[in-house]
């Protein structure tokens, strides 16, 4: 979508007049079909669906009455590709190419609703026509994600039409930098990248730091496994990030800004580049923004794929062209950051929170959330939960609400066991629904989720990853998984992180192989102390969290591995044996047919036997057996 290149706003009123023109030109009598082009839906084929729609509309000559567009991620990735039909607001799910003709012929032409494409409540079986009726969306509060799914991320006019850049116009219509900082301070906004540092205070320190040149940086190096909040924001609403950065730069006194995006997000980079280009054409970015005399430029830098570059000092080193290694932050980056100049770095989500705060006022924002954590937080909900996807909830919501009301409960027949938050350096928390009360303080299903509560219980907010686990997940194995991720991603500069993580992993390997000893637990705790206290950057100091939190909440599992030689979840191969129950086996031969090692034998309709000496413990027989006849111990 190209912009009108002859437009360049010389003042805030010109922008507002343009918005009025857009809304007056907006026709309410046409059908608007929005197809989600978030990464999840694209992976499920939404681009092909979009093309099919274009074809179908052209062939029926409906161009005049149907407007087709793409949008960012709606969050409900589990059920993609998603298609929204306006003005009725019908939400169709799992739309395939073959459904397109049906939709055009029925919904577009006659308004008939296609039942099979609507959301079906798994419990009641009732169909939901639009987002508001779906429980996944009901408990959410969309502040940061307000525009995503509604606007075309590649169209600046779309963003302006929904009120975009009005906060910037408000700021440049007479607010002093001090006033802007004060608003952010009063809002109580805290950094969404994981640290939770008060954003306003950071801005003030940076503004007050001596030096002519100041920089602002947007950290889009989202690297936590299973996390895609920042990605969806950059892909779905790039202008809100830019607007936040421009306001921040004005408040801090910066003329140059950088967005550091990981190379693995090509779509985010493309859309941000489009957004920057369009904003520059409109005079919302670049020299003399909105005729105010304020200059600010933004450049995109692509990260090379190192997780540690999400750490602010490593990110700045990488931006400067050096190896991405952190340095001590005893002198803060707001004083000496990029090229030793005062630099204000905020996460993508933090920047995107700025325009709503300016627009609706700090008091509105601080009314959301808890005492210490204001506003909302976007989580990527993944793992053994029915509704995986991107959710935005007010701070202080309980884990129970997130897991059940939004997440729809556990996927499959097993019980919830734990939730891992905060990315690889976060911790695992016990969530036990049925035995509520029995485990006392250990059961955290009703924990209000905010920065401080999560830290108190040994995990952290991190950037908002939330991985749900059930009984089939071995907590020692989970700790091992995160540790091996961190081992790969440690930059290797400081001794505790480089050497310590390796040793912790070796010990975990020992334990999951059934070779652990009581001393190993002691050694793990000793290593954890040194790594947590003495590492150079947060990657190191938080690296023991996966071990410490699982040791704290699931010590019995470690002990089962070490003292009983058992993996209670049946995950650690070395500790698991498979056998066939004489009582349940019907002799269906399914297991024998599927066994890749050929270790199961038996005549049809007779009891099968499993030769454990050649068994490779892949667990396929256990999964395929329909009669619970394969026993895993």
């Amino acid at each position: 979508m190209s912009v009108e290149t002859n437009i360049r706003f010389q003042s805030p009123p010109e922008l507002s007049a343009f918005r009025d023109r857009l809304s007056s030109e907006r026709r309410d009598d046409i059908n608007r079909i929005t197809i989600c082009a978030g990464t999840g839906c694209v992976a499920k084929g939404s681009i092909r669906v979009f093309e099919k729609f274009t074809e179908a509309i052209e062939s029926r000559q409906l161009d005049a009455t149907v407007e087709l567009k793409i949008s960012g991620c709606h969050g409900f990735c589990e059920n993609g590709p998603l298609v929204v039909m306006k003005p009725a607001g019908i939400l169709y799910m799992e739309v395939r190419e073959r459904d397109v003709d049906d939709i055009v012929e029925k919904t577009v032409t006659t308004g008939e609703i296609i039942e099979r494409l609507l959301y079906k409540d798994p419990v009641s079986g009732e169909r939901a026509r639009n987002e508001d009726e779906i429980p996944f969306y009901k408990k959410q509060m969309r502040v940061v994600l307000r525009n995503i799914g509604k606007i075309d991320p590649n169209n600046i006019d779309d963003y302006i039409a929904v009120g975009g850049y009005s906060s910037l116009a408000k700021v440049l219509s007479g607010l002093q930098p001090e006033e802007v900082i004060s608003m952010i301070e009063r809002s109580g906004l805290r950094g969404r990248g994981g640290g939770g540092f008060p954003t306003g205070r950071k801005w003030r320190s940076c503004r007050n730091a001596p030096g002519d040149i100041h920089y602002v940086v947007c950290n889009g190096d989202e690297g936590d496994p299973g996390a895609f909040m920042d990605r969806s924001l950059m892909e779905g609403d790039p202008h809100s990030i830019l607007e936040g950065m421009i306001i921040g730069a004005y408040a801090i006194g910066a003329e140059d800004g950088f967005v550091y995006v990981r190379m693995e997000y090509p779509l985010a980079i493309e859309r941000l580049l489009n957004a920057i280009r369009d904003a520059e054409v409109y005079g919302l970015l670049g020299g003399n923004i909105l005729g105010s005399g304020f200059d600010f430029r933004i450049r995109i830098n692509r990260g090379g794929g190192a997780f540690v570059c999400g750490e602010s000092t490593a990110l700045m080193a990488s931006l400067e062209g050096r190896a991405g290694e952190p340095r001590a932050k005893y002198i803060h980056t707001v004083e000496k950051g990029l090229w030793d100049k005062p630099t204000n770095l905020n996460n993508v989500e933090t920047w995107a929170n700025v325009p709503p705060i300016i627009e609706r006022g700090p008091e509105w924002f601080s009314s959301l959330g808890t005492d210490g954590s204001k506003g909302t937080k976007v989580f990527s909900l993944v793992g053994k939960v029915k509704n995986t996807g991107l959710v935005e909830v007010p701070m202080g919501i309980t884990l129970r609400e997130i897991l059940f009301d939004i997440g729809g409960g556990v996927k499959g027949t097993k019980k919830f066991k734990a939730v891992q938050t905060g990315g690889p350096s976060g911790g695992c928390l016990v969530v036990d629904v049925e035995e509520k009360g029995k485990k006392g303080a250990f059961n955290l299903i009703d924990l209000p989720v905010d920065f401080d509560r999560l830290t108190e219980v040994g995990s952290m907010m991190g950037s908002g990853g939330m991985i749900v686990m059930d009984e089939d997940d071995c907590m020692v194995d989970v700790a091992k998984y995160f540790l091996s991720f961190l081992k790969e991603e440690s930059c290797g500069k400081c001794v505790p992180c480089r050497e310590g993580i390796r040793h912790m992993l070796t010990i975990l390997d020992r334990i999951t192989n059934g070779e652990g000893s009581a001393e190993d637990l002691q050694l793990l705790e000793e290593l954890a102390e040194t790594i947590a206290e003495a590492s150079l950057c947060a990657l190191g100091t938080q690296a023991p969290n996966p071990i410490l939190s699982t040791l704290n909440y699931f010590r019995s599992e470690y002990e089962a591995h070490i003292f009983e030689g058992k993996c209670p979840a049946g995950v650690c191969k070395q500790l698991v044996t498979y056998s066939i129950s004489a009582d349940n086996c019907t002799g269906c031969t399914l297991c024998a047919k599927n066994c890749p090692a050929g270790c199961i034998s038996g005549e049809p309709k007779e009891l099968h036997t499993l030769d454990s000496s050649t068994c490779i413990k892949c667990g396929i027989c256990y999964d395929v057996c329909n009669f619970d006849a394969v026993i895993r111990r």
Partner: protein, 591 residues
């Protein structure tokens, strides 16, 4: 080690309960040093910015407003009111675990073993590796920040991290300064040259081991100089460490050699001699075989202020059990210098005596003739015969390290003919000293041209008369003394120097110079200014006067030889008191 501003703000803090005040911008490590509190470090050096990678200097800081944390002392800047604890149980646990981790990585590194002992680590409980490098980054940072060569860097990330040259190839960026090896706490960096020979930057190197050094021992004036060929600053423009630490601000990299013109009436040439470089005599293996040294290097080794403190040591640091001294290396040799260098026999005897005195080594002296003239010299020779020095009459033919039996294994073998017993011998030795010939300076020819004094066929300056004018030259006012006149020992040199000085003094004392009666004069009216005479004059006595446009004779220099008069194309020059008229009159008188 940053220069501190003159107007310093002081901050006050406590380290282990002791109060201390120091400048803003200082680190906890600075404060601890001031108080004498020990904090261990591995990746720290004052030469470059702190890096805080080893984390061994972790200490606990308590903030004045309450709370606190573990920080690294090397880069944590002090501020008012903080309380630092360097030796709590927690800190000892952390440091102990760090040492244990490093020792698991590098089990054979001495500095880690020492630290392990200090922190009571008896057994390493962690999985061991066989590394040597602890990745402290000192070498990388010194190479980049101080030397400015950027020849090595970290490669790989995390567990793959290692120190490497670009693409693991030998790189032109390396200037072989050895700074990396010097700062390495584990001592696992070795500097090798292109042929794989080890370059020793340690004390046992016989040459100057640093780029800023005294010219030679007991030099006058005793002021260091910078060897610009090896100084890092002159190669990369960086470093400058000597200037940084010199309290007197005496280091000036901009100083250049300058030429000073002085008007004098007399000149004594005492330009000395050079030592023959024996590496051209391939048979002796100098420069190729370890522990084959020249007499001057051996002197260096013997010097109490020298690199070994006067101990006679081999390159491996051990004491030799046998030493050979070869006389007449390059001298009394048809292929190099036919003359005798005069001093070698006596200093060789001195060396033999010193070796006997300082070590238990057997000494072998390979000579052609013992030339022990002079007072007390012959007696000294006899004394050494009694001390048990083995004198072998015969020129050594070859030095080799090719052993033919087990006795010779790892030794230097000297092959020679012992003419007194009439047998060929192979003598295995630990060290061989070559008594190199004294030879004239390379620039002697140039000097002889400038000063109009002749050189002999041996390259040394010739005196005016060997018996009657031994320190004069054919140029008046130019005298010679010492090694530039011919090989001689110290007493002879001192005597000759004194004689030359006396000659000069007698001329100065007279306050006037006797000139020759018959000297050339220029008839300025006839001189065309062709300057032919200027080039003809063997004594450089005729110069062209730019103002007058004619040639002028310097009466003090003119010897009245008549060459200019004979060569003048316009008959403008004549010899005073030796004019044609006078010659014809003399002839007439005779006839």
């Amino acid at each position: 080690m940053e220069e501190k501003e003159a107007s310093q703000v002081l901050v006050h803090l406590e380290v282990d309960g002791k109060s201390v005040s120091l400048a803003e911008g200082s680190t906890i490590l600075d404060a601890a040093k001031l108080l004498g509190v020990q904090i261990p470090t591995l990746c720290y050096t004052p030469l470059v910015e702190p890096y805080a990678a080893c984390r061994l200097c972790s200490v606990e800081v308590e903030y004045p407003r309450g709370g606190g944390k573990v920080v690294t002392a090397c880069n944590y800047q002090v501020w008012d009111g903080i309380k630092v604890r360097t030796d709590t149980d927690k800190i000892r646990r952390i440091r102990g675990m760090i040492v244990e981790m490093l020792l698991a990585r590098c089990p054979d590194i001495q500095v880690l073993k020492d630290l392990a002992e200090e922190y009571g680590i008896e057994k390493v409980r962690l999985e061991k590796q066989e590394e040597g490098c602890i990745l402290c980054g000192l070498c990388v940072r010194v190479c980049a920040e101080l030397v400015g060569a950027h020849a090595i860097s970290f490669a790989g990330r995390g567990l793959d991290r290692r120190v490497a040259t670009p693409y693991d190839k030998s790189s032109d960026a390396c200037i072989a300064c050895g700074a990396c090896a010097l700062v390495c706490p584990t001592k696992i960096i070795h500097v090798e040259d292109q042929e794989g020979r080890e370059i020793i930057h340690e004390e046992l190197s016989l040459g100057p081991s640093k780029a800023i050094t005294l010219p030679f021992m007991q030099a006058v004036p005793n002021i260091p100089y910078i060897d610009t060929e090896h100084c890092i600053h002159f190669q990369t423009g960086e470093c400058g460490y000597c200037a940084k630490i010199c309290d007197r601000d005496a280091i000036d990299y901009e100083l250049q050699e300058e030429t000073i013109e002085v008007d004098v009436g007399n000149i004594i040439m005492a330009t000395g001699f050079e030592l023959f470089d024996p590496s051209v005599m391939g048979q002796y293996g100098y420069g190729r075989l370890k522990n084959v040294v020249t007499s001057l290097e051996f002197e260096h080794l013997n010097c109490a202020a020298g690199p070994t403190g006067g101990r006679i040591l081999m390159t491996d640091g051990g004491e030799p059990s046998s030493v050979g001294i070869i006389h007449c290396v390059g001298s009394r040799d048809e292929n190099y210098y036919k003359y005798c260098s005069r001093v070698c026999c006596m200093y060789a005897l001195k060396y033999a005596h010193l070796i006997k005195e300082k070590t238990d080594a057997d000494v072998y002296s390979f000579y052609i003739d013992m030339r022990c003239f002079g007072k007390g010299y012959e007696e000294f020779y006899h004394r050494l015969l009694e001390e048990g020095v083995q004198f072998i009459r015969g020129r050594a033919a070859e030095i080799t390290d090719y052993a033919i039996d087990s006795d010779e294994e790892g030794k230097l073998i000297v092959l020679c003919e012992d003419t007194l017993i009439g047998a060929l011998r192979r003598i295995p030795l630990d060290m061989v000293v070559l008594c190199s010939a004294m030879k004239s300076n390379e620039d002697a020819k140039e000097l002889s041209r400038i000063f109009s004094c002749s050189l002999g066929s041996d390259g040394f300056f010739i005196e005016k008369h060997p018996k009657l004018a031994p320190v004069s030259t054919t140029s008046d006012g130019v005298f010679i003394a010492g090694g530039c006149q011919g090989p001689k020992d110290i007493p002879d040199t001192v005597a000759q120097g004194a004689a030359a000085a006396a000659e000069v003094l007698s001329l100065i004392d007279r306050k006037e110079v006797e000139v020759e009666a018959a000297i050339a004069v220029v008839d300025e009216d006839r001189c065309s200014g062709c300057k032919l005479c200027n080039t003809l004059c063997p004594y450089l006595a005729v110069k062209y006067d730019e103002e007058k446009g004619v040639s002028v004779v310097n009466e003090a220099l003119c010897k009245g030889c008549g060459t200019c008069a004979a060569g003048c194309p316009s008959n403008a020059i004549s010899a005073r008191h030796f004019e044609n008229r006078q010659i014809f009159a003399e002839i007439e008188g005779l006839l």
